[in-house]
Structures are given as structure tokens and as C-alpha cells.
Amino acid sequence: MKRPAALWIWMILLAAFGRPVSARAHEVRPGYLELREIGTGLFELSWKAPVAGAATIPLHPVFSGNCSMGLGTAAPAPGALLWHTTLRCKEGLEGTRLTIEGLDAAVTDVLVRVERLDGTSETHLLRPASPQLSFGHARGRAARAGAYLWLGIEHILLGVDHLLFVFGLLLIVGRRWMLVKTITAFTIAHSITLAVATLGYASAPLMPLNASIALSILFLGPEIVRVWRGETSFTIRHPWVIAFAFGLLHGFGFASGLTSMGLPHAEIPLALLLFNVGVEIGQISFLLLILALERSFDVLQISWPRWVHHLPGYLVGSLGAFWTLQRTFLLLEKLR
């Protein structure tokens, strides 16, 4: 194998998720709070509280000032718990402060959107570092674009299964030109399905999708071993084809980061574009980091032990296998 740098990248990924043997990848999505004005000072409030696996992340929207909430209803939704209630603000929403309690200790974001009777709207992205906002300060298109861009970057940085797939491709592809072709094919493919799914033309059920994404990682394991042995296969000769085919699957996975929020139709084109750009920024940064590290190790003339050379490939294969089994069992359990 040619990329011992990969071991360290893998360790970063492994550590970043803390619980690498869980099926956690893509289980945590951003929260979404929507306020739709239905009368003067009266709002319909929808709160999609993200869940991590079976556990609800303890996030609580808290409104300051003269706003009071009605009795609400809660219902489970894919990847979220959905609350519906009303919010009455006697003196209007302007100046009211919203705080998402618990966000500062969570690993997710909350997108907040307000639509008023006069047709104006405002969108905010609340993050752990800034979990509150004051309404009435409408944000420009650039700020909203920045919010969607960040969501895309965040989605890929926390999407360890996508990164692991890209990493597996790197271990297979030797020549730089082929690497460019392969990554471009993956990008085009996942952009297609991301757009198709976000625009509502197609969808993929979450649990089989996650199992299939895990299977795509497992698929790369034996191919990496073939590369070590100097053997060849269709995947080794034409990795871009495999990248394209599996990229279509991964695109549905990326789309879950947007579709689970239920954005209004008018907002989707901007959100889709910037979210995808964010995903690409994260993906390319990851790739460049691996390549830069690989180059650095060459310059520093580091000679890695044999087991270090082989470890990344085994990790890709074994983790892919584990996730495939785990997600398949979860799927079968749900079907029963």
C-alpha cells in the first residue's frame, strides 16, 4: 500500500467520532425551528428536534419576553421528533430572544426560519458557539448562504462513512490523473442524487440507505487487499465507475441533511447549491490534507513498519463490514 499517511487520517476520523463502532454516522441532523405567522402576533411553531439513534438530543427552544406557547403535540419523524404548537407574542416577535437550551453542549446546529404575513422572512443558523438570536434583524442572502454552506461542511466532516469511502478510493487509486477522474465522478454522482432527493423527485428510505452506504465501504476492503497483492480487478482498472455508482447512493445520504429539515420550496435552490458546495469544500479539504501529509512523509523519509502500511486497508474493510452487519440487523429488527 502506498499511503501510510492514511493511518493517521483514519485515527483522526476514528477519534472524531469517539464511538466508531456505532452506527452513528449521519444519525445526527440539524434541528429545525419554523415560525409561520398565521395572525397578528400569532405563529404556528414547528420544532424538529434531532435525534441520535433512539435518543432525543436534549434541545429546548426558549423564548424571552412576552411570548407564550400553547399546548403542543409531538410526533416521531425520520431522524427527528416533531413538535407542533402555537406561539403568541403580544407585542410582536421583533426583539424577542430565542435561546436553544442545550445546544452549547450538543454536536449539531439548529436552523431557524420565520415567515411573516407580509411575505418577509428571516433565517438564522444557531450553533453551539452562538445558541441564541434576537428576532427582527433580518439576515441578508449572503448570511443565509453562509449558513447553508456551513451545514454542508459540517455534514461531511461528521459523515465519517462518506469520508471513509473517499479514503478507501484513495487507497486504491495510484495515479494522480485517475484520482482526479475518480473524485470527479464521485462528486458528479452524489450531486445528482443530492439534487434529485432535495427537490423531491426521489427519495431513499434511511435505514436501507445507511446499510447500502456501509456496504459500499465494505466493498472497497477486498479491493485494497488486491492492490497490495499487485492483482487487478474492474474496480482497480476503472475506479471512477465504482465511484460514480456508489456516489449516487452517497448523494441520498447527503440529502438527508437537508430534506429532514423540511425547508420551504422557495429556499431549496439556494440551500441545495450552497449545501453541496459546502460538502465539496469539506471533501476536497480532506483529500488535500491526506495528499499533503503523504507528500510530507515522503520528504521526511519516514519508513513505516509493514503493519502500519496494512492497517488502514484492514480498518476500511472491517469497519465497512461491521457497519453493514449492524445496519442490516437494525433494518431487519425494524421490519419485524
Binding site: W8, I12, L289, S296, I302
Partner: protein
């Protein structure tokens, strides 16, 4: 105040606060120097990225000049001296930093004196600026010392020895590994004399920053 209730609430940590002391003009340099050598209590917290403790740790290094600059100086110096120094630095410093971090976590918030961490700016900056020849074992020992000092300071600034704190320390160490690999390899690859001079100038700036920080510390403690 209206609150949408739900499952049990997560504890919210209060933010750390800090206040600068007014400047005291009376000459108290000896007392200030003594104060600088005494252990301090750490109050700093890691930046919250929203991407989890490892990413918090990684971003901490790049957003904290007092940790970043000495580490950068180690990378620059290793690059100036050769591949063997680079190979030693990329493993020794992150591991020592991690070990120091664990010690700091277990030390109930007692940080090493700020004069020592500031001294690392001066020492490493001076080494880079002068391009001094230091033997490989001496360089490794210096890197271990620097890692232990800064790691202990980082660990002591964290609230409790939780798994999240450990993962944050791991994030710091991994980003150190990446930083040192990239920096030392970059400098090692520089062929022109002018480029090596530029690296040494960067070292002198790091040293100057250390002097400024030392002066700042003296003013605060005096």
C-alpha cells in the same frame, strides 16, 4: 419566558470570565518574576465548534497563538535541521503534549507558571532565528519539555477528566502531528538560501512575540 419542554435537560456550563488588572507603576520586578514562577490556576476553555470534542481540540491549536507559535517554531526548526529532526518532532511533541494534557487534567486546574510557557516562545524562536545546531537528543528533550508544559496547561484549563476532555486532548495532539509534518516537510523542501533566511526571520518574530508576552505577564502579575 416561554420554554418548549422536552426530555431531560443537559447541564449548561457557565462561561469562564476574565478581568484584566489595572497597571501598577511601582517597581516590583523581583516580586513579579517570583510570581511568574508560581503555578497558576487555569481558566481558559476550548472553543466550541459544534463538531465534537476532537474538532474542538483541533481548532484550539489553530486559534490559540500561545500554543500554536511555539509548536510552529518546533516544526520550522526541525525543517531547518533536517529530516531526522522532523521525524523525531512529529512523534515526540504530540505524544508529550498528550501526556502533559493528561497530567494537567488530573491536576485539578493547577497550571504550570505562565513564565515557563512564555519561555518556550523565546527558546524556540531563538533557535529558529539563529539556526543554532542542537543535537538530536537535545532537540527531542526540548520538544518533550515543551509538549509537557503546554499540554499540562491545556489539560489544567479543562473542567474535569472526562472522556470528552481526553478526546479534546487527542484532537490537539493530532493537529500538532499534522502541523509539524506539514511545516517541517515544507521547510525541509526549501532549497534557496533566501527562503531559509525567511524561515529564520519568522523565528525571530516568534521570539519577539515571546518577549511581548513576557512583558504582558509581568505587567499583570506586577
Amino acid at each position: 419566558m416561554s420554554r418548549l419542554s422536552g426530555p431531560e435537560r443537559m447541564p449548561v456550563q457557565p462561561a469562564a470570565t476574565g478581568r484584566l488588572h489595572p497597571i501598577r507603576l511601582r517597581p516590583a520586578v523581583p516580586a513579579a518574576l517570583l510570581a511568574l514562577t508560581l503555578p497558576g490556576v487555569a481558566h481558559a476553555h476550548l472553543v466550541t465548534t459544534g463538531l465534537g470534542p476532537v474538532y474542538d481540540g483541533m481548532s484550539h491549536l489553530f486559534l490559540s497563538p500561545d500554543d500554536l507559535l511555539p509548536a510552529l517554531a518546533v516544526g520550522l526548526y526541525a525543517g531547518l535541521r533536517g529530516a531526522a529532526y522532523g521525524r523525531r518532532a512529529i512523534f515526540v511533541l504530540p505524544l508529550a503534549w498528550l501526556a502533559g494534557g493528561i497530567v494537567g487534567l488530573l491536576s485539578s486546574g493547577t497550571a504550570p507558571p505562565s513564565s515557563l510557557t512564555t519561555a518556550s516562545f523565546l527558546v524556540m524562536g531563538a533557535l529558529v532565528a539563529s539556526d543554532a545546531r542542537l543535537s538530536l537528543p537535545s532537540f527531542a528533550a526540548l520538544a518533550v519539555l515543551l509538549g509537557l508544559l503546554h499540554g499540562t496547561a491545556n489539560g489544567a484549563s479543562m473542567d474535569t477528566a472526562t472522556s470528552e476532555a481526553l478526546r479534546a486532548l487527542l484532537g490537539i495532539s493530532l493537529s500538532l502531528f499534522v502541523l509539524l509534518s506539514l511545516t517541517s516537510a515544507f521547510v525541509l523542501g526549501l532549497k534557496s538560501h533566501a527562503a531559509r533566511i525567511a524561515v529564520r526571520v519568522a523565528g525571530s518574530w516568534i521570539m519577539a512575540t515571546g518577549i511581548l508576552l513576557l512583558g504582558w505577564s509581568l505587567r499583570r502579575k506586577g
